[in-house]
Amino acid sequence: MKCLRTSSTARLSPRAALTVLFLMLLLSLALSLLLGAVSLAPADLLSALANPSSPTARILMHVRLPRTLASLLAGAALGAAGVIIQSVLGNPLAGPNIIGVNAGAGFFVVLASALWPASLRALPMAAFLGALAAMLLVYSIAKLTGASKLTLVLAGVAINSLLNAGTDAVVTLFPDVLVGSSAFRIGGVAGVSMAQLRPAAVYIGLGLVAALALRHEMDVLALGEDTAKSLGLRVGLMRFFLLLTAAALAGAAVSFAGLVGFVGLIVPHAARLFVGGDSRVLLPASMLLGGASLTLCDVLTRMLFAPYELPVGILLSAIGCPFFLFMLIRRKREVAQG
């Protein structure tokens, strides 16, 4: 496995890596706008702009654009949330789905839409509160029981299944809950409307800005609590604020994209292979890679079994799981080699 080890030392320069990822994102966005049940040519984009009432323009405005923005926002948000959670908790096994953030957001979203069916605007807030509650719960349980990397994951598993049971209970009791459909459980961005996206986009925008502004602090925090403290960082405050940001990001993504599992766990790992662990590069890289990969996966789900569409959550799990196992094996090998 020599190639793996050298690949991690001879990386692209940060600027080159970010440029590559940015181009990848642009490509994925273009593909997402053009491909689908009705495939368009690049020239159609221009003609749609010229003639906004044409059928092509309508497909673009009401189907492709919201869907593309949704996968971009959800992917970038979950990628960033993953980096934040992993570095704040100092735990590479942590991810929004592992420590119950997605499940918490999901439960609150389903609950809110069961209790107040007309409150589309409030869903991102509900998701944020759910994500935050789940995260604080898992974090404090792990801290009480020894704060090791393993207890955090185990506490996450326990809270996850509890919250998912809660989601199932609400769906059973209120069978006609809009977002309680299986599509939400699996996760996907098909059929997302601009009205759903708008409030969530505000949270995600603020969250991404906050995360980018604090990436140096995040790096210092990742050195461990004692070192960070001795470097003058207000550790408790910063940790709480960063987790708040991660909750806003992951929660907002879940509020419209459902439980898109692996993005927040896998994307930071994949990005780290490209650019290393320096948050100042890793964070923007994870945002770009998250947006690009979720968008590409969404395009794939439209094309693979056309005319049928696979929910993107299924594809993500199918791709993400082997990748995660590969990361685990690679890690073990590196540890074994010292």
């Binding site: 991690s8 210092v220 050195l223 470097l231 003058g232």
Partner: protein
């Protein structure tokens, strides 16, 4: 420059340190020694301001530690923890983190920060590791980089928790020579040491601890004659004159 006045420190109900007083001075290497679990790490963390005592006071240059802002404290006291993370960044990035207390917003490194990092890496003899990944370094090399990070903080006090543990003898002596150099620069150097040989050879003052209490403070000479070592470690120290007229101690 750091003064502990009757501090009691604990994590749960049972205090780890009880009513302990101690002064750490500039231009002096102080070694904290004692059996495992006697509270050495807790003591050094308290002196570094990482743990708040339940009672008593820690003074930095005559002013209570908690009256100093975190960043101001970080420009006065550097602390090397016993257990260290290994982030996926280069050695230089790692050392540059030592400049965090000096960065304003938006956290851009200035030429003097790069210069401080370079000097620190050179001081620990690790200039050639600059662009290597932390994960690819040996234990001893990582240790040097961590020490360089503490040096880049450019503080008048340097506190290190077991800086020599797990190092081979050559690296151990390098670390101790570095500590001597810092002492000569007039810094207060505080080390938790497991190895009595190193402690007796390089430290000016030894603080012997047992079960959360300070048993004895004094020079190696005073400690070897006090009988406190027998009481705590059940060993006796014999002074051996070296050809260069410095002294070495043998324990039996």
């Amino acid at each position: 420059m750091i003064e502990l006045q009757g501090v009691t420190v604990g994590y749960g109900r049972e205090p780890v340190l009880r009513d302990l007083s101690l002064t750490l001075r500039r231009g002096e290497i102080a070694a904290l020694i004692g059996p495992n679990g006697c509270g050495k790490s807790t003591l050094i963390k308290t002196a570094a301001g990482l743990l708040r005592p339940l009672s008593g006071e820690v003074l930095l240059d005559g002013k209570p530690l908690r009256a100093h802002a975190p960043l101001e404290l970080a420009r006065r006291i550097a602390y090397l923890p016993q257990s260290r993370q290994i982030p996926a960044i280069t050695a230089e990035r790692m050392v540059l983190h030592g400049r965090f207390p000096y960065l304003g917003y938006p956290r851009r490194y200035r030429a003097e920060d790069y210069e401080a990092a370079r000097r620190a890496l050179e001081a620990v003899g690790a200039a050639q590791l600059r662009s290597r990944e932390m994960g690819a370094l040996s234990g001893g090399e990582r240790q040097k980089v961590y020490i360089a990070m503490a040096l880049a903080q450019e503080t008048p006090a340097v506190l290190m928790d077991e800086p020599t543990t797990y190092l081979d003898i050559g690296h151990q002596l390098e670390v101790m020579r570095l500590a001597t150099m810092l002492r000569q620069e007039g810094k207060a150097v505080v080390l938790v040491l497991h190895d009595l040989n190193l402690a007796f050879r390089f430290a000016g003052v030894l603080h012997l601890m047992q079960r959360g209490e300070l048993v004895f403070s004094g020079t190696p000479e005073q400690l070897s004659q006090s009988g406190a070592l027998e009481a705590v470690f059940h060993v006796r120290a014999h002074r051996v004159e070296l050809p260069d007229h410095s002294a070495q101690y043998v324990f039996e």
